[in-house]
């Protein structure tokens, strides 16, 4: 992918450390993420991805280091961070027994949108999803791929600067998976930063920049193109395999 031209950082992390007792989950992480960038956050199970994401989302206080997300401090302004980001997990956090419209309204309300704003946003989202006809359907009646796209839209109901996607494509069929990445691409192109984790290494190729975490430490941080030439690999899968088991464990 071509890197978007922007110099504005929406995430700034310097020497982030998180310890749980004697265990260091994140060890001096340093990276920036720019506006409109698709930032891939990769690592083996247990490498410390979830801990770092929880800190970046304001859910967990770091042990030390400087963290700024959407311009807010990772220690003192965690609630500000929460209201200025979007988050979507693999288990889409939609309410199955509410309708499409009700879900949008609920999340709009949670993020403090006015009734008027919610109305406008609902129309916009239904437009872009092409789901006006299904507006009054229960979530439980929607096919998986639609749920996934709706969950993504709901995570963006308050127009956040950054959206965090935690393994958003697990278990979906190959066409839906690709359509979802086309949606990610369009969101990034319109200026929203996308911070994404995945176990599909072909998806790592779609990121502007990739960060690979190994045992709590950043082992690689660069564009997919540069990483492939640096590690003399044809694909990101090869890069990942070379790095992720550097300090063999498990």
């Amino acid at each position: 992918m071509l890197v978007m031209i922007s110099s504005e950082n929406v995430i700034e992390v310097k020497d982030l450390v998180k310890k749980f007792g004697g265990f260091t989950a994140n060890d001096r992480l340093t990276f920036d993420v720019k506006k409109g960038e698709i930032f891939g956050f990769l690592g083996a199970n247990g490498a410390g991805k979830t801990t770092a994401i929880r800190i970046l989302c304001g859910l967990l206080e770091p042990t030390s280091g400087e963290i700024k997300v959407a311009g807010f401090d990772g220690y003192t302004q965690r609630n500000k961070i929460k209201s200025n980001i979007g988050y979507m997990s693999q288990r889409f956090s939609l309410y199955e027994d509410l309708t499409v419209k009700e879900n949008i309204r609920l999340f709009g309300g949670i993020y403090g949108l006015s009734s008027k704003q919610i109305k406008t946003r609902t129309a916009q989202l239904l437009d872009s999803l092409d789901m006006h006809e299904q507006a009054d359907w229960l979530i439980s009646a929607l096919p998986l791929g639609w749920k996934q796209r709706l969950a993504f839209s709901v995570a963006m109901v308050h127009n956040p600067k950054i959206v965090f996607l935690d393994e958003p494509t697990g278990g979906v069929d190959p066409i839906t998976r690709r359509k979802f990445w086309e949606m990610i691409y369009n969101v990034a192109k319109s200026g929203t930063t996308v911070f994404v984790t995945t176990h599909y290494m072909d998806e790592a190729e779609y990121c502007d920049e990739v960060c690979i975490l190994v045992d709590g430490v950043i082992e690689a941080l660069d564009t997919p193109q540069n990483l492939k030439s640096k590690f003399d690999s044809a694909t990101m899968d090869e890069v990942f395999v070379k790095l992720a088991r550097k300090k063999v464990n498990n």
């Binding site: 979906v172 069929d173 066409i175 990445w181 990101m236 395999v241």
Partner: protein, 306 residues
């Protein structure tokens, strides 16, 4: 008697047809993959084979034993690792293994050779409650427990979901070893790239089998030509290709685009000319063999059009 013989199996949950008149056979000693997304019916199929649920109609036979009438016999000869961790969280690693050995009337010692490679990783944690293990360790323990009675047939429901690319590789190496011990294995996955590691596969979606074969013959049967096309601005190229009449489909595959066209309707030189004229100066294209994922996507599209 073949390990699995499924005939015209249907199962409905309310309005949802989880399995729709599905037939399938798994041969002795095979490592057989059920490949498909969530909701394809993979779990339902496995639960019927293991006799845990009853089909609405059709039959499932395991080594000639009927899954509804002879379920007791089936249960003693199959090992089943469900998608969700279902060992006893408050029992230790060792206690779980002893429990499963005991239930099946055997001992850890008797079949230890089968799980040795896997269990060695767990040995340092033998006194830890199973609920306190890491994801990878839980998986290894679950596999050990499913194997301890030396089953003739092993069923694994999405063992690699949520598992990183490297650990997935290691897991498949373990399956290869078990296969060489003569155990027939049925494994389900949503990862298309794992299909090539199986002896035979069935592509599943919406309760039906889209195609079944060896991975090699399946991709050979791909009826279109596929070009791999590369350009630094792949999205721009993708959108361009989709406007073309010759494109049956165009999708991103990592850094490449797979362009599917009707056989022998487009030459490489022709394509290169079109790309160059459109301003994609440094585009590279190449006629390639389809992958299982390409096949799945083609078959999926066909089913949707029916």
């Amino acid at each position: 008697m073949i390990p699995i013989n499924i005939s015209e199996l249907s199962k409905t949950y309310g309005k949802v047809k989880a399995l729709n008149n599905l037939s399938l056979a798994v041969n002795d000693g095979e490592l057989f993959g059920l490949i498909g997304p969530d909701g394809a019916g993979k779990t339902t199929l496995m639960r019927i084979i293991t006799s845990l649920i009853l089909p609405d109609s059709g039959t499932a036979e395991v080594f000639g034993l009927d899954s509804t009438k002879e379920y007791r016999k089936i249960r003693s000869i199959v090992g089943y690792m469900p998608g969700r961790f279902s060992l006893y969280s408050d029992l230790t690693v060792q206690e779980n293994l002893e429990f499963f050995a005991g239930v099946f009337g055997t001992t850890i010692k008797e079949n230890y050779y089968l799980i040795q490679d896997i269990y060695e990783h767990l040995e340092p944690f033998r006194d830890r409650p199973a609920g306190k293990l890491s994801g990878g360790m839980k998986q290894k323990l679950a596999l050990s427990c499913a194997l301890i009675h030396k089953p003739k047939l092993l069923l694994l429901d999405e063992p690699t979901t949520g598992v990183d690319a490297v650990s997935r590789r290691e897991f498949w190496e373990m399956l290869r070893k078990l296969k060489s011990e003569g155990i027939t294995i049925l494994v389900s996955t949503a990862y298309m790239d794992e299909a090539s590691l199986c002896d035979s596969i069935a592509l599943m979606q919406n309760g039906i089998v889209l195609g079944k074969d060896t991975p090699k013959s399946l991709v050979e049967k791909y009826q279109n030509d596929i070009f791999s096309v590369k350009h630094p601005d792949s999205y721009k190229l993708l959108n361009f290709l989709r406007t073309k009449d010759f494109a049956q489909s165009a999708f991103l595959f990592g850094q490449e685009i797979h362009l599917s066209v009707i056989k022998n309707t487009l030459q490489k030189d022709e394509l290169n000319n079109i790309l160059e004229t459109a301003g994609f100066v440094n585009a590279e294209s190449e006629l390639i063999t389809a992958t299982v994922e390409d096949s799945f996507m083609l078959l999926m599209g066909k089913e949707d059009n029916n």
